[in-house]
Symmetry: C2
Subunit: 429 residues, 2 copies
């Protein structure tokens, strides 16, 4: 068997320890699969002496992670530091510039700098792999880049953030408010102390951007993608969703339209009989539509030590075996910038939920307003009274633009008979 | 860009035409993804002059498929002839012996000869790829061999035959008998004129064997795997399954147990909240459990022109890019033969459904028989009368062996109060 393949790991948090654990436990099995033994040789982290539950005394220690890239005895560097810039980016650049293989679980790094890093990787013929950056343990980057390489991709939609899906599941199944479930999730360690990045959709947006680059061979600007999180969701809408045959899921979406590529994140109504609707708790899932294959769906754990380490080790073994698929699925030097669609180019069916005065003529007033705005009503539901006063009026629309839907909601909000700001959600057909 | 990569295709049925169609339509896109243009140069099929809806006049024609393997101008051969032996096997051997890349959609070939072909491929350093052989367009071979390569796999279970899942879905949703639905499926072209191979589970068994080889690095004997199809399923059991919180699916299973590897096919009760339970019609799905990743599920079209061709083209692009993962996930020359478990080593929870005389003491008699056989009852359900006379009695058991369950059912069948042969199904926890 060939010589040992030596890796360096930058960042020894839960995932780094998970990678070391897999390499230790499955050394023989992985050597057979990879064709040669794989061993950690050097590590870098903030605190050398923290007890991590694994013995790192046999590895060389580097205080500076970027120093790992300068060591000639390392074949591959794993970056688990996190953050889109700073040491993670410096390490990635130094590593690839030196022609060395680079594996990362860092979605922010790949969302903001993936295209540039891919150009560098192509030029230096250095492998760049990032399976763990999207949907944790589910090998969806590989599916998109390799397994479905024969397809023109039309649509990707995914449950990409476990924290949000956990909160939505609890809100629905236990009929509890967002704030209540979030507080519990924070206590249990399922949500960060500052949950903004997850619940406001930014984490999902990073992942959607990475999937869009791979699927459409163009580079979206991360900060122009429309992103709506789950903070404003009301349990009443979750109840109505179920009544109408849907579940509400936070979806990261990348879709080819006549006008261009749409990349966005929003809570959406997913039909109950779709595989994404059945995905509960912190599980992630990605739906990919290709012109030859049709629709495929990938479901699994989206985060955590084992699943993320599984993806990192999968990347390592690929590279040890000599896999050489281009980082973004094709040469990256001439990828065009993606032009974001404006709201008048983004079409969907919508769910609008109003709390209105229980008075004669209100439904007619609302219907007239939609008609005047040229928004076609698909369904209308009024039943029971709202605990807060008035009654709920639920409207589903035929396809219209985000712009028109937003205008309609703004106009509705100004009516005297509307008692609180309307809820607006996309319906996924 | 590098020179054109030339492929030969043996077999121009629906999948072969699908492959040609993808290569024609997406030539530029695929060239960018693969790094060089990919073109069909030679083909072989039974009838040169049949109208296939694609123009094959630009390709060299070979009457003998094996002649493709002797052409120095071909870089890769795609085998779409079918059959475990005969020309498909001869072509595979000739191709790999010549060190040429070989891509196949042939599950029978891989189930019976995959291990030998992998040894040959390893020795000649010739790529051997067969993504299309299992679960059509879903890249599950790739997930297992590459994406989850960091895991010790414990359990794979899949809906691997679209015809069976279509029939089961119709039986359940339309409450129609097996024979009725089968006849309709044959008329619609969803089932073969001779459906034996599908509905009796042999097709699923071939695929389960391939997954088992990859997951467990051992070689099962195809013909010793216990295989039960869906022919004997009664709609009454589908109804009871739903009542108990399950759907009945035909599962191909490969599982690591204390005694060895279990490879089998059987209709089983799948909990309604599991992703496999929601898989309808001809869709396929595969669940894979690994020690690091946990459970992942892959869902998509399992057959048909586009999905199967998608998998074949994915394999082609992998090989053009220079991917070199070993055909069975590790060197194949020293893979052990899998020792089939006997029925006393195969454990499950069971569902037993009886039609019994509506008489005093019958339940006690049945319960006593199970107790004497040391089979522990988990649940018992008796309600309503059977249209055919008597009443239905449904028993679910705690874990016991296949042997003991079969003995119990044989003993029950001999009781005077049992009006028809009992139904016996596995329950998947």
């Amino acid at each position: 068997m060939a010589d040992t393949y030596n890796i360096g790991i930058a960042g020894l948090g839960t995932v780094g320890v998970g990678v070391i654990d897999i390499l230790n436990r499955h050394g023989d099995l992985l050597a057979k699969r990879a064709g040669r033994p794989v061993a950690v040789r050097a590590v870098s982290a903030r605190d050398r002496h923290r007890d991590r539950g694994v013995d790192i005394s046999g590895y060389d220690w580097c205080d500076d992670p970027v120093a790992l890239a300068r060591r000639d005895d390392l074949d591959l560097i794993v970056e688990l530091i996190g953050g889109s810039d700073g040491p993670a980016l410096a390490l990635a650049q130094a590593c690839l510039e030196g022609g060395r293989a680079f594996v990362t679980a860092n979605k922010a790094l790949m969302a903001y700098h993936g295209a540039d890093l891919a150009v560098l990787a192509d030029r230096m013929d250095a492998p760049l792999a990032y399976e763990a950056a999207v949907a944790g343990g589910i090998p969806v980057i590989k599916a998109l880049k390799e397994g479905l390489a024969g397809n023109e991709i039309s649509h990707i939609s995914g449950i990409l953030n476990g924290t949000c899906n956990y909160i939505l599941t609890k809100m629905e199944e236990d009929r509890r408010d967002f704030g209540d479930v979030l507080a519990e999730a924070q206590q249990l360690g399922y949500a960060e102390a500052d949950p903004t990045f997850d619940i406001d959709g930014h984490d999902s947006a990073h992942k959607a951007v990475i999937l869009a680059m791979l699927a459409f061979h163009a580079v979206p600007a991360v900060d122009t993608a429309p992103v709506v999180g789950i903070r404003a969701l009301d349990t009443v809408d979750i109840d109505y969703a179920r009544e109408l045959g849907y579940k509400i899921k936070l979806l990261g979406t990348a879709r080819r339209t006549e006008d261009g590529i749409e990349v966005c994140v929003h809570p959406a109504m997913v039909p109950l009989d779709h595989a994404l609707a059945g995905v509960r708790d912190a599980t992630n899932a990605v739906m990919i539509q290709g012109d030859a294959v049709g629709e495929t769906v990938y479901i699994g754990p989206g985060a955590g030590r084992g699943p993320t380490a599984s993806a990192v080790v999968g990347d390592i073994i690929d590279i040890v075996r000599g896999h050489t698929s281009p980082a973004l699925g094709r040469a990256a030097h001439d990828l065009p910038a993606m032009v974001p669609l404006d709201d008048a180019q983004r079409f969907a069916n919508f769910y609008i939920r109003l709390r209105v005065n229980d008075a004669v003529g209100v439904v007619a007033e609302v219907a007239q307003l939609l008609s005047d705005a040229d928004v076609s009503i698909d369904g209308l539901l009024q039943r029971g009274r709202a605990a807060k006063g008035g009654v709920y009026l639920v409207i589903t629309t035929h396809a219209t633009t985000e712009a028109r839907a937003a205008d309609v909601v703004a106009a509705l909000d100004k009516l005297d008979n509307i008692l609180e700001p309307p809820a607006l959600l996309r319906i996924e057909a």
